[in-house]
């Protein structure tokens, strides 16, 4: 019998388009417990429809019978409550846009889950008591807001519906970007904006992120370790320029102590990892200058072996 009563309620609620209460009562249909009747009574008090129909009156009577206590009194109370609600609703009915003949199935489809999904109704027994308490609390404020937004509400789905119609989807063979007067990514402005964006605003959340930041700040070595890290100038110079310095002494005398000496100097320089190539050339130049200056003195002792050749001969 209780299920039939519930069915009646559902139909009546649907007519007044109070979806949430209708669906919550539909959910309750599945449960046949003592709580049912108590919840029904509470919902009765918040029920609202256009007018009190005969069916509802009989339903009220049966509820009053099932609930222990003064039967007539409960009946009167319930009817009074209903009348009170109708006065409120009758104003709003004119404002409310009537939806196309809704069935309970439609309501379930459209129902917006306010607090609990149907799964949660099934699982959490205790929560049911809670929901009715909060249902009632919220209902009073919910009524007013509903009256305000009812007219403007339409259902939206993400990414569906009409679009702006301004742009075309990019085709695979889209024309290459017309090069403008200047390339924005090369301007100072772009660099400045990058700098501003790069200043990270939160502290690192673990040690690895801290190490990443230190690496980016150049405080930490990069992994895998590069022995030549930071040597930007030296990277441009090949090793052969350090090692093979024989070209530099092509104009020195080809025999004799000077040659011997400068060859030793070149061997030493080629093994020196601390000087740059230009520094090594400077060394050799210094010796060149020195021997050229001292040529008058050396000519007496060495003779031919002190002559520098004018043109550099490649050996």
């Amino acid at each position: 019998m209780s299920i039939r009563i519930l069915n009646n309620y559902c139909r009546l609620l649907v007519a007044g388009s109070w979806r949430r209460l209708a669906t919550s009562s539909i959910c309750q249909k599945g449960k046949d417990s003592a709580d049912n009747k108590i919840n029904k009574k509470e919902r009765n008090e918040d029920n609202s429809k256009g007018e009190i129909e005969e069916e509802l009156k009989s339903a009220v009577k049966s509820v009053a019978k099932s609930i222990s206590g003064d039967e007539k009194q409960t009946e009167r109370d319930l009817l009074q409550q209903l009348l009170k609600q109708t006065k409120v609703v009758s104003h709003s009915v004119s404002e409310v846009k009537p939806t196309t003949t809704p069935t309970s199935r439609d309501l379930l489809v459209n129902m917006t889950v306010k607090r609990f999904t149907e799964d949660q109704f099934e699982n959490k027994g205790k929560s049911r008591i809670k929901t009715t308490r909060n249902n009632n609390e919220n209902n009073r404020s919910g009524q007013q807001s509903r009256l305000v937004r009812e007219g403007a509400r339409t259902k939206y789905e993400l990414f569906e519906g009409p679009d702006l119609g301004i742009f075309d989807p990019p085709s695979k063979q889209s024309a290459p970007a017309v090069p403008g007067e200047y390339d924005r990514t090369k301007t100072l402005r772009h660099k400045l904006e990058e700098e501003i964006r790069a200043k990270s605003s939160t502290p690192p959340s673990n040690a690895f992120q801290e190490m990443i930041r230190w690496t980016e700040d150049e405080k930490l070595w990069t992994f895998p370790i590069n022995n030549e890290a930071g040597m930007k100038e030296e990277a441009k110079v090949g090793f052969h320029e350090h090692v093979f310095l024989d070209d530099q002494i092509a104009d020195f005398p080809r025999k004799g102590p000077i040659r011997h000496f400068i060859e030793l100097v070149v061997v030493g320089l080629s093994k020196n990892p601390y000087l740059s190539v230009s520094a090594k050339h400077e060394h050799i130049n210094w010796f060149r200058q020195y021997f050229k200056e001292k040529e008058p003195v050396l000519r007496e002792t060495l003779g031919d072996a002190s002559k520098f050749s004018e043109t550099a001969q490649k050996v």
Binding site: V113, K114, R115, K126, S127, K130, N134, N138, S141, G142, S145, V148, R149, R153, K155, Y156, L158, F159, E160, G161, P162, D163, L164, I166, F167, P170, S174, V178, G180, E181, Y182, R184, T187, L188, R189, L192, E193, I196, K199, S201, T202, P203, P204, S205, N206, A207, F208, Q209, M211, I212, T215, D217, E218, K219, F223, P224, A229, G230, H240, V315
Partner: protein
């Protein structure tokens, strides 16, 4: 001999270079990886004789290994934030200690920087290879002086805006020639920094606690100052110049100027950059008088964008949605938002979280909006795994949680939001947003979820991510009482000890919860222990205060009369007569120290206990007290005593 030497050298060189080639191939990890891959791949292709596809080289940067390692690590729920980690005894657990620790760490860094700046002479000896610029004292002096272009370039390089402006005015006075490139660079600098020096950088820890988020949009661009003057002085107003000045004005919220310059650009057919369009759409449309006009301006700009042959990007649509967010009260803005999202989908652009934040702004503009868009958005983010960039996206989560708690109050949405936020480390953002986020979430859980689930979440969040405040404790204890989760109270109590400043407000909550029901022995013993700690603390506080010269400076425990009554009830429930008597006598002896009026049931139970323990004198004391304070059940207690106990004549 020369030729032989030459040929020998050639041979040596060629051999060496071959070897170096070999070394380089073996050193590059990728190639080795590739060859390994090939070796693994060939067995699969054993049947077919199809060609071997060599996979593309994956470029690895200097931090790739570290990033891979960082992706394997998640937040440890039992440890505080990384910057607060030290000896476990020193973990901060209240809001004030956390703030102190974080700011003191940042202050230490600032002090070190200050020393290096003030005394650069002590830091000149740097023998490190490669040199670390970050540790060296900053270069403050200019190499070039005088009114020339070199000096101007140097000022621009060092980002000294004010000096650059001063120098430029000098140059103008002397009527020197400056190249167009330098002038445009100077214009860029002025527009980006809005004619002021770059603001002082805050350390990460400081931004959490010290960042000020002003939501009010105020115009910061100064009219007719250096940037605009410079712009007027430019011999040729090129596209680059126009774009920079328009962007600068838009960012500084000087919308009228920006729009007028934009119209100039359109008249003179100067191509407008995509970024300029972005700024104009977001900020330049503020000049519009009505929402309708604003939207028409936005669409006009989008059309113009298309006419100039530019393709919109994610940033374009984010700006469109931001503009819609600022006109959210317009009745059609929801339609426009959906249209924009559909357009994004058509172009294959995935919306980011800031886009969704603006969507929420529009849909939930009024306080009582009840749309289901939030649920759809959160589900979309959850399923499609929209990329979340740490604390930059905190705004979205905060907004979503606020809207949820205002109208929808959906626990599922809130849980999803919180899980995502915690996983992607969104919560290391500014503390005011994080604390409100968790406050709303926790209150929602307490109201609509079971106590078991609440305590699960509690264990993960408290105390390191967030600590409860008074209102959240109230909700928590309501939930505890409703779901009868009294077994959690000792844990909550011990957590409360971390943040003793709030203890006075919440101690009454704890006591009343404990006193509600008589529990089984183990739990009741725990409650009695808590009660004992409270009363002994109160007594020692009072003694301490009496010895102090300025008692007001010490934050002592304050109990109310109802609280004391509850303590008595707890002790009676646990059959601890001595403890109950101690509480009672404290109450009797210090009548003015307890606010409020004592409650009846406590004393009746005390009388019962006295009777059980056969202490007639104490029972009489209690009854006298009850009658003095006009508590009900005094007479029944008297009767009980008279019937159940043997009394001497005097006591009668």
């Amino acid at each position: 001999m020369a030729t032989s030497m030459k040929s020998i050298r050639k041979v040596i060189l060629w051999n060496l270079s071959k070897k170096s080639r070999h070394f380089s191939t073996s050193q590059s990890h990728c190639n080795r990886h590739e060859t390994e891959q090939l070796k693994r791949e060939t067995p699969k292709l054993s049947g077919s004789t199809s060609e071997i596809v060599i996979p593309n080289r994956i470029p690895r940067g200097p931090t790739s290994i570290l990033k891979a390692l960082a992706s394997t690590v998640e937040r440890d729920p039992n440890a505080p934030a990384y910057y607060l980690v030290d000896d476990p005894y020193l973990y901060p657990t209240g809001f004030i200690p956390k703030k102190n620790y974080a700011l003191s760490k940042a202050a230490g860094k600032r002090a070190a920087k200050h020393i290096v700046e003030q005394h650069p002479e002590f830091f000149q000896n740097d023998t490190s290879h490669p040199k670390v610029e970050a540790f060296m004292p900053p270069k403050t002096e200019y190499q070039t002086t005088g009114a020339n272009e070199e000096a101007l370039k140097e000022r621009i390089e060092m980002r000294r805006v004010k000096d650059a402006i001063a120098l430029y005015t000098e140059i103008k006075l002397e009527e020197m020639e400056v190249s167009e490139e330098t002038l445009l660079d100077l214009l860029d600098l002025l527009c980006v920094y809005n004619n002021k020096d770059p603001p002082e950088e805050l350390y990460g820890e400081e931004t959490i606690y010290l960042s000020k988020h002003n939501r009010k949009a105020a115009k910061t661009w100064e009219d007719f100052t250096a940037a605009e003057k410079l712009f007027e002085d430019l011999p040729r107003k090129s596209a680059r110049a126009y774009n920079t000045i328009v962007t600068g004005m838009a960012k500084g919220l000087a919308s009228e100027n920006a729009m007028s310059k934009y119209n100039e650009m359109l008249e003179n057919r100067i191509p407008v950059d995509l970024e300029t369009f972005h700024h104009l759409i977001e900020y330049g449309t503020m000049t519009a008088d009505s929402h309708k006009e604003k939207w028409s301006l936005v669409t006009a700009m989008l059309h113009e964008l298309k006419n100039q042959g530019l393709q919109p990007t994610l940033e374009t649509f984010r700006c469109v949605l931001s503009a819609l967010g600022s006109m959210a009260s317009h009745q059609n803005s929801t339609h426009y938002v959906m249209k924009t999202l559909a357009e994004m989908k058509k172009l294959g652009i995935e919306p980011s979280l800031s886009c969704f934040a603006n969507v929420l702004d529009v849909f939930y503009n009024k306080p009582n909006d009840r749309s289901d868009m939030l649920k759809k958005v959160v589900d979309y983010i959850w399923e499609k795994k929209v990329p979340i960039n740490g604390s930059d996206d905190l705004h979205f989560f905060f907004l979503a949680m606020m809207k949820n708690s205002r109208t929808l109050k959906d626990v599922e949405i809130a849980t999803k939001l919180e899980v995502l936020a915690r996983k992607h480390d969104v919560i290391s953002g500014p503390v005011q947003y994080v604390s409100v986020f968790y406050s709303l979430y926790f209150k929602l859980l307490c109201m609509y979820d079971t106590i078991e689930h609440v305590m699960e979440v509690y264990n993960q969040i408290v105390p390191h991510i967030w600590m409860l405040n008074t209102e959240e404790y109230e909700e928590l204890f309501k939930a505890v009482e409703l779901y009868e989760g009294y077994q959690y109270i000792p844990q909550i109590w011990s957590d409360m000890q971390f943040d003793l400043m709030k203890l006075n407000d919440i101690v009454n909550l704890v006591i009343s919860s404990m006193a509600k029901v008589k529990h089984e022995e183990q739990l009741q013993n725990q409650f009695c222990d808590i009660a004992e700690s409270l009363i002994s603390r109160w007594i020692s506080d009072q003694q301490f205060i009496s010895t102090m010269r300025r008692p007001s400076r010490y934050l002592s425990l304050m109990l109310t009369a109802t609280g004391m009554g509850d303590l008595i009830t707890i002790s009676c429930n646990g059959n601890r007569f001595n403890q109950a008597w101690l509480i009672f006598s404290t109450m009797k002896d210090n009548p003015n120290s307890f606010e409020g009026v004592p409650s009846g049931p406590a004393f009746t139970s005390l009388v019962e206990l006295c009777i059980q323990n056969n202490k007639p004198e104490q029972a009489i004391d209690v009854v006298v007290y009850m009658c003095e304070h006009g508590l009900p059940d005094g007479k029944t207690s008297i009767e009980k005593i008279q019937t159940q106990m043997s009394l001497t004549d005097g006591q009668k």
